[in-house]
């Protein structure tokens, strides 16, 4: 089975919705610093609660934010 990694495409959705990171952080109730870490993929994982809040705020599906890409 080919190895895949999960890439966060939050920047793309933010641009499509014309929303700033600060506004999204405020709406979903996390710090800008944590949102920045999430955007850069420097976190171990994302809670369902956070993912649901992001999807609600950006009116999208989890698949619009997260993408599995082949490693290497």
């Amino acid at each position: 089975m080919p190895a895949v990694q999960i890439v966060v495409r939050l920047d793309v959705m933010l641009a499509r919705r014309k929303m700033r990171s600060r506004e999204l952080a405020e709406r979903i109730g996390i710090t800008e610093q944590n949102l920045s870490l999430l955007k850069s993929g420097k976190v171990k994982g994302i809670r369902f609660e956070t993912l649901a809040a992001i999807c609600a705020a950006l009116d999208c599906q989890p698949g619009d934010i997260l993408e599995a890409v082949a490693e290497g």
């Binding site: 994982g45 994302i46 809670r47």
Partner: protein, 176 residues
């Protein structure tokens, strides 16, 4: 008053208590051991079963002193770890890997100290009765020692649980 502020307040007091004990306890044992070496006959009070005139050689007195000094080491090690733990608690740092390791270390050292509290009197009796007409070998296990062993074991188990809790906390911190 919140649990954290209560923890900090009590830890601040316990910090000084543990620090003072960690310094005073070895000194007391040193004085006691030194007295035993300079006045070997005084050691006979440790073994009431022996006749008053039983000879105690300097080597026997030295051995008893050595055993006493070794026996106090786990207690001092536990106290030193308590000092560090209470300092962290006093500063408001509660659930950390360092504190969990400290609790585990305290539990292990106290378990060893509890074991020594059974073995040391046995060894002292045997050493002091070596030249007596009848050697004494007895193991005493009272309810205080049993309670000490159980409390030390409980602390060790709590230490393992805290290590696991600190690991889970660190893992959770990687999630947003």
């Amino acid at each position: 008053m919140s649990d954290l502020s209560r923890l900090q307040r009590l830890s601040a007091q316990l910090y000084w208590g543990a620090l003072a004990l960690s310094v005073v306890l070895p000194l007391i044992v040193l004085v006691y051991a030194g007295r035993g070496v300079t006045e070997p006959a005084s050691l006979l009070s440790l073994v009431p079963e022996l006749p008053a005139g039983t000879p105690v050689s300097p080597a026997q007195a030295g051995l008893v002193a050595g055993v006493s000094l070794v026996a106090v080491l786990p207690l001092v090690a536990a106290l030193r770890r308590m000092v560090r733990l209470f300092a962290n608690y006093r500063a408001g740092e509660v659930l950390s890997a360092e504190n969990a390791e400290a609790i585990l270390g305290i539990g292990r050292n106290l378990s060893l100290a509890a074991l020594f509290s059974v073995l040391v009197p046995t060894l002292e009796r045997l050493i002091l009765s070596w030249h007596a007409p009848r050697r004494v070998l007895s193991i005493a296990l009272d309810d205080g020692t049993l309670g000490f062993l159980i409390a030390a074991g409980l602390l060790t188990v709590i230490g393992w649980a805290m290590v696991e809790a600190a690991r889970v906390k660190a893992e959770n911190e990687g999630f947003v």
